[in-house]
């Protein structure tokens, strides 16, 4: 077996074990104490078995949502950092989350009587909003150059963030007190999906983006040498950049539509993983996905238990960890 495959195998085993442990232990944490014996007790009918209800209806979907959102945001973070060749890039740098926030805000403020296909409006609208932002950024970046200029991409993304934030403030003017509060809470992230439906709906997007990520591992390694050097080694740079941009945006849009814009996962996890396994994207990508899943599940478990019976939004915990981490990263690089 080649060394890279051996390393990949052992890394996946380690991080996979971590993710599996998180998925198994996640539903056991919570503000109410439940007994595992009651959860698996088949003799009690489900209607009377409160412990089983809490486990299967409240906690398990939430843990799986944490795994999915964490994996998608972490791997999208790795891809954006490779695409923009900037270790401080996050999945939200290019305006994806601002577009998603605007979509969700419009749904919450104005979508009072619309429910399309019986699905709630906010996740759909936030996904549509994120894809709009992505489309605008892509068109702006590709307008001048034949390829995808990363500088223009970054500037376009930052501009879209500012523009969408202005639109968000405008829409907020029309929202009443309750809607504003609800939007603020959405912006902090909320993994309490209480059903498996959003996961099933997002699954095709996850599969598509992860498939493209798998293909992107080697191209990202080459891109990190610079676009010219990558071209001389036979990489179709434009195609790789497009694939990276779209797959990472798709993953981010899907993640935000499930759990809201949970910040800092896309920067903490890739950097921690790189500290542990090096910079080879063939290892960093899958490891980040697995570690991201475990990390977000852990953050959500803390958010649910630290102020029981009240629950903190998970974005607060990731920000509390992420802020100092970000500073440390900046200081370290300086």
């Amino acid at each position: 077996m080649r060394p890279i495959q051996r390393r990949l195998g052992s890394t996946l085993a380690l991080f996979g074990g971590l993710a599996a442990a998180a998925i198994v232990l996640g539903p056991l944490a919570g503000s109410t104490s439940i007994s595992l014996g009651n959860v698996v007790d088949r003799s009690m009918p489900f209607e009377q078995n409160v412990d089983a209800q809490i486990f299967f209806v409240a906690r398990l979907p939430r843990t799986l949502a944490g795994a999915m959102v964490g994996a998608m945001l972490a791997s999208a973070g790795v891809v954006f950092q490779g695409l923009l060749r900037n270790p401080l890039a996050t999945p939200f740098t290019l305006g994806v989350s601002a577009g998603a926030a605007l979509g969700a805000m419009l749904a919450i403020t104005f979508g009072a009587s619309l429910a399309w296909l019986g699905l709630p409006l906010a996740p759909l609208a936030s996904f549509a909003g994120s894809m709009c932002a992505v489309a605008v950024v892509y068109l702006l970046a590709g307008a001048r150059h034949r390829g995808l200029s990363t500088n223009v991409l970054l500037l376009a993304g930052v501009t879209m963030n500012a523009f969408f934030s202005a639109l968000i403030l405008f829409v907020q003017y029309f929202a009443d007190f309750a809607e504003t509060f609800r939007i603020l809470r959405w912006l902090m992230g909320d993994l309490d999906i209480s059903s498996y439906q959003p996961l099933v709906t997002a699954l095709p997007l996850v599969i598509v983006s992860f498939a493209i990520f798998a293909w992107l591992a080697r191209p990202l390694n080459l891109l990190s040498l610079g676009t010219d050097a990558a071209e001389t080694r036979g990489l179709d740079v434009t195609r790789a950049q497009r694939a990276a941009f779209f797959s990472a945006s798709l993953a981010t849009g899907a993640a935000v539509s499930v759990g809201g814009p949970v910040g800092f996962i896309g920067i903490i996890v890739p950097h921690l993983v790189r500290l542990l396994v090096g910079s080879d994207h063939r290892i960093v990508l899958p490891a980040s996905a697995l570690f991201g899943a475990a990390f977000l599940i852990a953050c959500d478990a803390v958010a649910r238990t630290i102020m029981a019976p009240l629950e903190l939004p998970v974005g607060v915990i990731t920000a509390l960890i992420g802020g100092p981490f970000f500073l440390w990263l900046l200081v370290r690089r300086a």
């Binding site: 209806v57 429910a115 019986g118 906010a122 509060f181 909320d190 629950e311």
Partner: protein, 289 residues
Amino acid sequence: MNTNLLPFVLFMSFVIVANRPLAVPQAQVQPRRIVSLIPAVTEMLFALGAGDRVAAVSNFDKFPPEVEKIPRVGALLDPNLERILSLKPDLVVVYHSQEDFRRQLDRAKIPTYIYTHAGLADVTATIRSVADRVGRGDKGRELATRIESQLGEIRRRAAGRPRPRTLIVFGRENYALRGIYASGGRGFIHDMVTLAGGDNVFADVQREAVQATSELILSRRPEVILELRADPLTPEEESKELAVWGQLASVPAVRNRRVHLVVDARTVIPGPRVAEGVETIFSRLHGGR
């Protein structure tokens, strides 16, 4: 006097005079042009027979029907000072939390009545206080006493009945069980439901609002769920909104079809119609429409 000191003395006099404490405007006995930013207080003014003296209301006022013709001047977050000043009011009813706005009104020498949002008992206290302020003290006491006896009567009727565990939802996302806000153990909604004979599942939480996650709802096992709404729904919308609770099918209230959409503005406005609101809640809690 040494002429070098004169500018200094003039300057210091100016500084002292400019920083004197502002005199609070003297309250007038019978304000004739009242601006009310609080819908509950607007209702009180009309119920006290002072409705003809209301010069402007908030953007959210809907009752009584006469407010449709009255100018609107903003609300809690965006009171329009210019519009209010142009109406030359002699009393403005403001929220306790609108501190900057109150200071602006003080500087313009306009008397204010400060409203604090609290429990059910404060509704009648506020009615009496507002009535005294606008010179309708007797009517205010009469109205307050009538409401208190109505509430007492409902409390008596509820006394003998079983008290169902009740989840009181006053806000959530449309057609989804996300962002559910329930009443905690404080505030007039909690007081209303407790008086009507319900046991608030979040009575132990010392806050007015609790974000109810699915785990919290499942662990508290409410027997009745009351969703309080002010705006009417079409029957189709109503059935869709009720169907959403199927996601938490194992909650006793959902299982036993005791989820009620209470579309009645009187249940969410702490004003003179509050007894009727409690009556609505009572009838939903103890069966029957």
